[in-house]
């Protein structure tokens, strides 16, 4: 009896410990983001205050108003940056997904001589830090004349994302039993139809998650974009953040406001696709 009670108490304590641990971990992850959101609504004085003002005394939209305002009033071409970011990220994601699907499917389904070597080779490209490529890319792009173009940025991000999408999508196609496609072929499909009508829908959730990763990589990338974009032609939002720095001052409030605008679409997209991910797969079609 007594033993049972002490066991119960221990279990409760353990559970409480888990909650506290989780709370601390989540706080460490979320606080910087929340701080950015909070700062975007606060005047610079309060942001810079020492000791920090934890509980805001005044919240307003001044930073946002200024950001969308004219030049001279602290305005930056937010909409142009946003459009550039969107065009570059979406296009590169779509291309990376198409290439990733083709590659991932081939890796998952076909015997290719030297398959594992090719695969490792693809992964190794991910080991090179992106910044290390910035100078060679800059020189190359300079010669080709594609610095400061959407095309140039899309090309970089496709190259950055393709190994990753191939790797992820390969994994998802491996989980789709090959008998599904065979059954579809016997049911009258061509190879192509079998893919689009059966294998693709079944692996769709996985492909969507690869899409999120690719999109977020392009959307958030700063190091290469800061080198390869020059003007309103192609500057993306992360690069746009630097507009808030000037020789002697840093407009933290404005920067935070733009950062919030950057986070929002990514957040919305993730939520949209996440629902899809969870609703996704029950591999009930075959015996596990």
């Amino acid at each position: 009896m007594d033993q049972g009670r002490s066991h119960r108490i221990r279990r409760r304590l353990l559970r409480a410990g888990h909650f506290i641990g989780l709370f601390l971990a989540m706080a460490a992850i979320c606080l910087p983001g929340l701080w950015v959101v909070l700062n975007s609504f606060r005047p610079t004085v309060e942001i810079m205050a020492k000791p920090p003002v934890w509980i805001p005394t005044e919240l307003n939209l001044d930073n946002y108003r200024a950001m969308f305002g004219g030049i001279g009033e602290g305005g930056v071409p937010v909409l142009t940056y946003f459009r550039n970011s969107l065009v570059i990220s979406l296009t590169s994601t779509v291309i990376a997904l198409l290439v990733g699907m083709a590659g991932g499917y081939a890796f998952a389904r076909y015997r290719i001589p030297g398959k594992s070597a090719i695969f490792v080779g693809l992964m190794v490209t991910r080991a090179v830090p992106g910044v290390a490529l910035s100078l060679p890319l800059f020189i190359l792009y300079g010669r080709l004349g594609i610095i400061d173009t959407h095309f140039g940025m899309i090309l970089v991000y496709v190259a950055l994302n393709v190994p990753f999408t191939i790797w992820l999508i390969d994994g998802f196609f491996r989980q789709v039993p090959k008998e599904l496609a065979e059954a579809a072929e016997i049911d009258g499909c061509t190879r192509w139809q079998a893919f689009w009508k059966v294998e693709f829908p079944v692996a769709r959730a996985g492909i969507a998650s690869a899409g999120i990763f690719a999109f977020l990589t392009s959307w958030n990338e700063y190091a290469l974009a800061s080198q390869l974009t020059r003007s309103l032609n192609s500057k993306t939002m992360p690069v746009g953040l630097m507009d808030f720095t000037s020789q002697f001052t840093l407009n933290w409030g404005g920067m935070c406001a733009l950062a919030v605008l950057m986070i929002l679409p990514a957040l919305v997209l993730t939520f949209l696709v996440q629902k899809h991910l969870i609703a996704g797969l029950t591999f009930g079609g075959v015996k596990g």
Binding site: E182, A184, I186, G188, C189, T282, G284, V286
Partner: protein, 361 residues
């Protein structure tokens, strides 16, 4: 509906031959079971008929068309896979109607065909579920339903029951046989389970190492196995094989026991053989079928018993080899008890010790 003819069909994986020159004629409406141990090439043969594997040599004909180079969709076949391969993102209704949908049949047509198939297999209440919400037996029935909606020339079954538990397997076996009686389509069925083969087949094709060993009706392969492999593979428990030598026109077992040669069989002196006797033909006196005119008797200690209700399997040692015998109208038997067994010699077999070939053929 159509006949299926395999002529010198060969399958190589690279330099490795897995199916050696198979010849097989399957009549229209026949239920043929390919059976053999794993790796014998039976599934590969089925997949070549389906068009899922390239044919390395020979021809496969379905009806009056050679289908070697036709893709699966043009062969008018349907297949039930071991893991069912139901489309997980579609409901049962969509799964059943998929082939007709691909063939661009009218909505009304598809609905009617799906309703018919669902009716035959009692799937009607499940039509709006997804495969993930079905039990193993129900998935199996959906897979069969998907095969029958399109009225193919040939049904192919690739070990369809091996993922089911024993009870359900027996039940589905009956359903498959009933389905065949109802639709009368040619069926080619692959299994490694000899009981499935015996119970379902019009004709059994026994394969081993990429060769066909024997083709025959279930009773033919049971009663007249061409070699020791078939004799031990077909029938449960497997046929007992006792090493023996022919001495003075009689069989001399390893421990010196002599038995007369089974009637109708002869062999020259000194020939090394295996004496084959099924458990059904070696029974303790007083618990056996009425003795025939060709009985031999031997004493054997019982080491283990397996009571099955109407009969008990007795394990004993005869001439140094473990032997399984059957006891009808069983009484309790203690381990170690020595019983006198009668052997019905006219039902026994002799196989060449080296080649395994039966002396009866």
């Amino acid at each position: 509906m159509a006949e299926v003819v395999l002529r010198d069909v060969v399958k190589n994986y690279g330099a490795l031959p897995v199916v050696h020159s198979i010849n097989l004629d399957i009549a229209h409406g026949e239920f043929v079971v390919l059976v053999g141990p794993s790796g014998c090439g039976k599934s590969t043969t089925l997949r070549m008929i389906a068009g899922l594997e390239d044919i390395s040599g020979g021809t496969v004909r379905i009806g009056d068309r050679v289908v070697n180079d036709l893709p699966p969709r043009d062969r008018n076949i349907s297949m039930v896979f071991q893991n069912y391969a139901l489309y997980p993102h579609m409901t049962v209704r969509e799964n059943l109607g998929f082939s007709l949908h691909i063939a661009r049949r009218s909505k009304a047509d598809i609905e009617r065909a799906v309703a018919d198939a669902a009716d035959i297999l009692s799937l009607t209440p499940l039509l709006d579920r997804k495969p993930g919400q079905l039990s193993g037996g129900q998935r199996q029935r959906v897979a069969m339903g998907r095969a029958i909606v399109r009225h193919p020339d040939v049904f192919l079954f690739d070990e369809p029951l091996s993922n089911l538990d024993a009870k359900l397997r027996t039940q589905m076996r009956v359903e498959i046989k009933r389905l065949h009686q109802k639709v009368g389509t040619t069926i080619i069925y692959v299994t490694h389970d000899q009981i499935e083969a015996m119970t379902l087949a019009d004709r059994i094709v026994i394969m081993r190492d990429g060769h066909i060993v024997q083709i025959g009706t279930p009773l033919e392969v049971f009663e007249r196995p061409v070699n020791a492999f078939v004799a031990t593979f077909i029938g449960s428990p497997p046929m007992n094989l006792l090493p023996a030598t022919v001495t003075g026109g009689a069989l001399r077992l390893a421990d010196g026991t002599t038995l007369p040669l089974p009637p109708g069989l002869s062999a020259r002196d000194g020939r090394a053989l295996h004496f084959g006797v099924r458990a059904d033909n070696i029974m303790p006196e007083g618990h056996a079928m009425p003795p025939t005119s060709h009985m031999a008797y031997a004493d054997m200690p019982v080491t283990l018993t397996e009571p099955l209700g109407t009969e008990t399997l007795l394990f004993g040692t005869l001439a140094g080899t473990e032997v399984q015998a059957k006891m009808l109208n069983p009484r309790p038997v203690r381990a170690g008890e020595v019983l006198r067994f009668g052997i019905a010699l006219d039902k026994c077999h002799l196989f060449d010790a080296a080649t395994g070939a039966s002396l009866r053929v």
